[in-house]
Subunit: 458 residues, 4 copies
């Protein structure tokens, strides 16, 4: 309410109480002021009540919510279902306009403000996470096809990218710098569109040698794009990018919103060390876009605050150490070992050698069993590059190397993982390995053996 309405209220309820209410309102306004002025993630998270107050204020500024609006265009932000209107906080017009996703939408001052603020807050958080030199970002409401997670590649004029295989160093699969340079020279630097590297990959693969690749790209004057899919959550990955940009050339790095910020699937951030480059990318989007991913990430970051997000990052790191310890212990109990992939700060791999030896089918069976027992996200990779995800076997899919010396199982310590997740996973994995060693596969295992009601059984 404005000050006039507060004054009138003093005639209805004692003035001293109303004034305290006005003062209380100012506290919220003050938080909003700081956000608008600084465009940064607040140190302390906002209460849900401040967040919703702010979103309601934004919605009021969009033309579809004007009390006196009359719409005679073909796109007026009308909504047929009140369930739908409500879940979007009545922000209906989307963001951007024809030809620029970052442009201001005249029919929607509130959504435009939301868009600008979200980009600004996300930029602040990415810097905080380690990309100190970062200059600009663009939030895309979808995962862009340019930036698919392949091993370090070269995009040449040939139709499909040229993949350069990794080198096996100890247990780790890591960038073969010499091979990359050889390939650039072979293709001719002037015909190379860009080098595409990655920070986010499943062990035993480890992040690319970004610093060296960046220096190489600078030397040959080749654009360099980094797939940082879920790397924001790891200070190591962010540091790699920061170092690459300092020492050489990184044009942009791309990350998923959901993987790093605990929001629903559906958006990506394209970040870069050059403002004009990012502005060009934001103009590549052909029209207005959904405001939904921006809304999710803004709510989340305002609610967490910088401190809340840092706490999540810290806990993730600690859980990585815990998970590594637990996997090592379990592996040793089953005659296996935790692969030594210390350059990968998120994903871990445990060998499945002895399982393979006993029973060639057991490795794929393990995948199915884990799926049935509601362990989600564990990947089983048999010899020869198959992979079992969600109980299904994919042959030759995602094999980073054609000939990794042993089958293995992946687990990851991703943002939001809890001690409970690790404990449950270890317990179920232990049970599965035990029954496989006894020769009881998924088919033979009786119903009493399968976790029909996992939360109650365990």
């Amino acid at each position: 309410m404005n000050s006039e309405n507060f004054s009138i209220s003093e005639k209805i309820v004692s003035a001293s109480y109303i004034r305290q209410g006005l003062q209380a309102r100012r506290s919220h306004e003050q938080l909003i002021r700081l956000l608008l002025e600084q465009g940064k993630c607040p140190e302390e998270g906002w209460s849900e009540s401040t967040v919703e107050l702010f979103l309601n204020e934004l919605a009021v500024m969009d033309s579809n919510n004007f009390l006196g609006n009359c719409g005679v265009g073909e796109r007026e932000g009308r909504v047929a279902s009140s369930l739908v209107a409500r879940r979007h906080y009545r922000l209906i017009h989307g963001i951007g306009r024809s030809g620029d996703i970052a442009a201001i939408q005249p029919k929607a001052a509130g959504s435009s403000l939301l868009n600008k603020l979200t980009n600004s807050v996300v930029l602040d958080v990415l810097r905080m996470a380690g990309a100190l030199r970062l200059l600009d970002i663009c939030l895309y409401p979808f995962r862009s096809g340019l930036f698919k997670s392949w091993p370090s590649i070269l995009c040449a004029q040939s139709e499909s990218p040229v993949v350069v295989e990794n080198l096996l160093e100890g247990d780790e699969l890591r960038t073969d710098l010499e091979a990359v340079e050889r390939k650039i020279q072979e293709l001719g630097a002037e015909s190379v569109l860009c080098v595409h590297s990655t920070t986010s990959c499943f062990a035993p693969r480890v992040p690319d040698r970004l610093e060296e690749l960046s220096v190489m790209c600078a030397k040959y004057d080749i654009p360099h794009i980094v797939n940082n899919a879920y790397g924001v959550q790891s200070s190591k990955c962010m540091h790699l990018i920061q170092q690459g940009a300092r020492a050489g050339r990184i044009d942009a790095f791309v990350q998923s919103l959901d993987k790093n910020f605990m929001v629903p699937v559906g958006g990506a951030i394209i970040a870069g060390f050059s403002e004009p480059f990012i502005q060009e990318i934001s103009r590549m989007y052909p029209g207005r876009a959904s405001a939904s991913p921006s809304l999710d990430v803004l709510i989340t970051l305002l609610t967490l605050g910088a401190n809340g997000y840092k706490k999540l990052l810290k806990e993730r790191k600690e859980m990585y150490t815990h998970l590594a310890k637990e996997v090592r212990k379990l592996a040793e109990g089953h005659g296996e070992r935790l692969l030594n992939t210390t350059h990968n700060p998120i994903s871990l791999a445990m060998s499945l050698d002895s399982l393979e030896v006993r029973n060639p089918d057991a490795v794929t069976q393990l995948g199915s069993m884990m799926f049935t027992r509601q362990v989600s996200g564990a990947r089983v990779v048999p010899l020869g590059g198959e992979q079992v995800i969600g109980g299904h076997t994919f042959r030759g899919f995602m094999s980073h190397s054609e000939s990794y010396p042993c089958p293995y199982l992946n687990v990851a310590s991703a943002i939001g993982i809890t001690h409970g997740d690790v404990a449950l996973c270890m317990r179920r994995l232990d049970k599965c390995l035990r029954s496989l060693r006894k020769g009881v596969g998924p088919e033979e295992a009786g119903p009493e053996d399968t976790c029909t009601e996992p939360s109650l059984v365990e």
Copy 2:
């Protein structure tokens, strides 16, 4: 947002759009200003967005939502479940304070404002509905036991009320004025605590003769309380009260929130023509009360607006005429008749004489069958004062008269009833009567005969 924050926003999004947003915000503020200034139900209903904006503003003024609050009392409006907090719009402190339900609660300026405004808006709506002289009301968060729906009675010093039976006039059961006066004289007017009359009753009973009773109460100086349970929806009932208060004495009349305003069960309005009397009643409530019924009724009336509510009243009246026509037609088709109870503006009764004659059990069976077929609210009253509600038979319950000459079935045209309700009810009643005439009772009726999926079958 306050004007300062709008100014800062102009640096982020084009000033002209932000200014339009500010202007849009003022439209909402303007509606709130009118409400605060006049305390009346707005002519046109508010959009849900204005309603929620306003409720959020109120919540911000309550101490449990102060960003800097620290609570060291035994009652601080803390809420354990965010589902609960949200569903109450974070208005947790309730209304009133020890000793007065209408008092301002120092910890909750917002809830106090809500309480005052709701009472004021409801007062306005009751006047609009016909109680022109109304002076004050008090919204109680429960149905008060004083005001149970009995036939016109006299509360004497005896332990239980003295009930004066109605007279049969034509088909109608109506106040026996002579018997009431006789009873007053017999008990001695000075020992009579109050006369309790009613506007809301099931046909063939009709509203009490309020004008005459009011004059009688004035003459003998006896307080007069009217049970107007669901009478706000009928201009006839409201007119009776208005006339009674004009010509004689009515101290208070009581109505349910849910029955008149389409809100959940749980509140009552005590209305009166003397402010001090109502203030005394509001001080009878022993402590803070739930704000939930006030919240429901305020949301509802702001959303409907005066025009929306008037439209509902008008439609109800038209549906009464429609329902009467349909029941008459159906009754005649089955050798029965619509009882002539024109003084009752809401409830109708149809005789079940010929059904009774064929099969003495059929009347109670009809009640069960209607219940099974998802006709809710229809009452079947057999001879001898039994009643079948919801498939169960209550003997001697609610028999307004010990010896009504025929069994009958009640239906009512209450606020919110639709053509669909009437059509479905008539179709199902027709089917039930047909099968009962064929001698097929509820037990014998095969499953194909019962409406297991009524919405799809019909």
Copy 3:
């Protein structure tokens, strides 16, 4: 979805995934089954998703949500505003029926189930909290007037209760057992309606001597009602009741929902050691009641689980010790002392002697200053029985004793209090006491001294 719909879904999405979905659904069903079978608070709290699933299922069973319903009664659970319908989870019909709040409502099987389960879960939790012998409870949707918080009293045939003053024992004000017995004999035991005692009171008052009072009530055959307003949160208070019931006579004890279960204001639990007595009380409620308080408490207890609630109780107890330590430290720094009221497990009092000596107005000024600084719930009690709450001075209000030897300030460790609350309160109290000693009262204090934006300033 039922099993048929799961089967059809297998044709759309791979059968193995659908089956896993079905299994997942069963986990929720299993939790619901346990609740229905045992009627107890689940050990572990439910996820919000299970809670909402369950509430939706209940709503589906109420006639107002029947897809094929047609309503022709005067009370059909119609709701005009979708905001209102949604916030009540579409449970509109309330609970109980004419003449019994615990009765099943034929139009609302879901709401009736809600009502029964809530009562059962609350009974379980009260037993868990210490009332082991408890037999039955009744949840009332309002605070009942019978049970107002007075000092230990006797309800006699006289119009108002006879209050028996407390005795000063050390710093504590405590039941004067001899005076109570003298008064009973004086009035004649047969003319005493009941004895009313309390566990919940502000220090320096302490809970009544329940065991001795209970024995006395048994001896004289007098009903005994205990006001346990916010005592469920204290094992000491619950133990007092349990001991009283074991050794003597306690007919019922009454507690507020909001004060003990962190829900909005608006309901009370009447608990007793005799089922018929409680059933009688539940029949005293004259009609259907709001389901809103039941809904709040059920959501809260299912979400917390028994373990969550126990944790809250444990934390409250620890915070009491912490608060006492902090108040003692602060008091000593200002030449005051923490009153020695160890029998009161929730409320604490700190003397304000030296403040009074310097400036007779300072004590009431302190109350105003605390209010302005958003310290809510602190009470200042000057000499002569005044009290300052929310910045206002009430003369003679709530003075448990006419002549307590010193002025004092109350703070309480109530359920949900945090370390932050205590720290903020101590800091602000310290500041206020400092400025009052310097002779700077609330009026003189400049704006820079008042906490206009407490969360940001501190």
Copy 4:
């Protein structure tokens, strides 16, 4: 609840009421069964309660909501903010999987089901809207850049599309078929990638001659893509597509979700007459996508039902006639005319000749004035191809023809438009034209002349 839980409930609440509740639940299940079996938009819209019940059921099937789930992958559908989780109905995993947006996501059976059903329901609605022969669709969570709204063009090997200007026929700008064929022959049919036509355009442009273009594409064996941006709402546009596909070649047609289905901005439907082609397109999306647009459109279509959607289409058509009548009347009153563009079923244009003559700046001023008066969606197009949208002047933007003979103003009758919109727009336009004729421009107009609070002023 499953049948077991219903049985247990019968011990708590009377069996007959519980059985009625079970029956009521079956009605909802029955609706869901029909949807699953037929994959069609239900005839009658579902109640919000059925919709939410169904969405909750879907959410329960996703692994992030499994009570016993333990997540050890990098993407587990964890959500930091409960506001975010709730607004997505806890459907977090998105839809599709690497390499196919239509693929089933193993971690999310519920979201996968949602995805399949939404596509199926949308396919049904598009057929209902006129594309009878439609074979498959793919819902994209963003507007695809391939399908930008240009005048009929040819995508050749040249970097940018070759635009073929329209012909002026009467007032209409319409496809120049001869010029298109000439251009194809000139470029060589084998080097043409596709022809891109459109149904949705601002008057005085009218939909392309789809039938003739389709025949031409078949003759030259060239793919044909139609931009049907907001054409689903018009039976004429849909008929054009249907005829084109019947007589010649249409490979795909693309439409926005928000423009046709009254949902928030953010999704598009790619529809086609060949299943393999659409499947190929759905595989072009590089990863998992947001489920948010699918969720919005499914909620909307289930709530509306086929009948509700048809009613909206019918009303839109009637409003077109009404709008045309009103614009003609207003135009004639101001010495202008409604342009004769009967082939455009949605957009209308009114000449601004006499305005231009009086004052060359008045035309652009009109745009600003309309914006300030909260008329959204009206476009003003001055001579020379400028355009005023939202108060800003764009030079040379969107000029379909370089030299349209007169300046004009556009209004459209789009889905959801109301009589109120038309009336307000006409009143405000009339006022603006009057003040411009008086020589009062936006700057000179006093505040009393500008609609600061349109809803209250008018």
